[in-house]
Symmetry: C2
Subunit: 355 residues, 2 copies
Amino acid sequence: MTTRSSVLSSALSSPAGAAPHVLDRCRELVRPALEEAVARLHPWVGEMAAYSFGWCEVGGAPAAAAGGKGLRQALAVLGAEASGAPVRSGVAAAVAVELVHTFSLLHDDIMDGDPTRRRRPTVWKAYGTGPAVLAGDALFALAVETLAGTPGGQVPAAIRHLSTALNDLVRGQADDLLFETRPWTGPDAVRPDEYRAMAEHKTGALLGCAAALGAVLAGAQPAAITALDRAGRHLGVAFQVIDDILGVWGDPAVTGKPVHADLRRRKKTFPVLAALAAPGTQRLALLLDSPEPLDDTVVRRAAVLIEEAGGRAAALAEAHRHIAAVDACLDSVPLEPAAADGLRALLSFLLRRES
Amino acid sequence: MTTRSSVLSSALSSPAGAAPHVLDRCRELVRPALEEAVARLHPWVGEMAAYSFGWCEVGGAPAAAAGGKGLRQALAVLGAEASGAPVRSGVAAAVAVELVHTFSLLHDDIMDGDPTRRRRPTVWKAYGTGPAVLAGDALFALAVETLAGTPGGQVPAAIRHLSTALNDLVRGQADDLLFETRPWTGPDAVRPDEYRAMAEHKTGALLGCAAALGAVLAGAQPAAITALDRAGRHLGVAFQVIDDILGVWGDPAVTGKPVHADLRRRKKTFPVLAALAAPGTQRLALLLDSPEPLDDTVVRRAAVLIEEAGGRAAALAEAHRHIAAVDACLDSVPLEPAAADGLRALLSFLLRRES
């Protein structure tokens, strides 16, 4: 079994000790503005939003469990600070990006039919599909409204940056849905480079937007904006590939998912695609192509075949490449040192963390 | 049986003869920019968008039937012209508003479970719920991107105007969904003024945005922007109330819906709410409250009771009030005469039209 920290222990050099404090500081900084934005929603829609943020349970009672880590809001605050932007730009960017992220979770859970998230029923499961569609739409509209209401002359550039990320996000989700209908082998099989583009769009675009949006709002140097955006995009691909590794070999006690969950669903993940791109993997292809449900014995066999064909090693190498690219992006431009260190500590912590 | 033209023949004085030509001209003006925007979408999502616009069938073959009338794009072009804005402002506004309108149709059809629209399967029925959610999101993002990419200094104001309309739209849809769960009588019953606010939000906000957005983009006088926006909002309420009248007494051959469709679904429409607000309507309330399915005899009886209680007359008076308010809004500010006449002819034509 593999945990995230064993996946990446060799790839990271930055100390991660300060990261929980960084996450807490950013969450505290952003929370009032995020609450103020959510309070502008229709009360029923606002409850679904608060439930999604982990602030309350169904019906509005205070939440028993903690919400998400707040990765995107921390990236937004630190990215803004690193570019020399004022705190208010980072907070405005954080609010917009958290709202968009939550909108995309609500809608993705409908598309993927996922019944649970963070060990609670998903919004569509708890409130119904129609209401979950509506709540996502409301969060999307609120994100745009929040950003458009920010003072300063950089609002059009910020809206363009956010909408580019949104278009990428939708494009990535569309490709991911279409991958399911494509064959495992032959000329129409999903190639690793198509997978990489999908992961950058689906996961990386919004992380890149988070890291760069405060800098855009503050009118920072284009080179800094590009470097922060690209760092977030590489981080997204790394995250996605690591999730894929954990989806095949991860410890269920740590990932919170059943063992071999992605294999059982025949999901087209990076390790499998990389394995099938190697010669002599006909047995694996036959196994995945069979119309039978994949039982425990078969998925265990498939996991071994993927590892033997180099799928796991290729995925690890891919993740390491993108983590190195994050570092290179952050090194490529002058950034405010304390904030850049905070960013590195945060990324290091997140990549070592188990969920 | 009642058709839209008999509902409103007395309320309209403007000649409607030029309106089909106005609609055609606006559609031709907007189509290239709308196609260019849709071409930026992921191809699969682009096909769902083109299907929604009535440009193609499932699979991409050219459409056999015509699409919608293009009311919102015509309002955008004429509203911009009426305020003295350049054509490009009207076209940019039209593209943004048509994209948002189509996004809202896609998602509303999921929420309402409607299987057909314009005599074809709805997108969720033809492509699946998940893809329809995604296509709606893509159109929403494209609308924001298109508006943000418009040249000129008024982009933040235009984005704020659009996002206010979007928030209203979501709020109206939320109220409409919640109305279903509220009782017919007693302190928690839906009041006619709540219905009016719902209709303004759900239907009026985007029509108001369509009429005003080109003027906003061109930096027109605030008074003209407000007048155009309010005209569109009143038009929306009038439309909704007329639809409600047709939903109870409309001719199925003309409305394309089963006779008494809204009554059968126990939809909380204006004529019913107005009837129940009158004294002595206990029998109607009992009938609507009964747990039994409403058969033909019962809905016919209910329609008679609603009419006897003054529900139909109240709804007609309500529609007339809002149509008069549209006229008053257009008269309240100096507008370019030919375009203002075009707007009046268009509204007159649309209100007389049967679908």
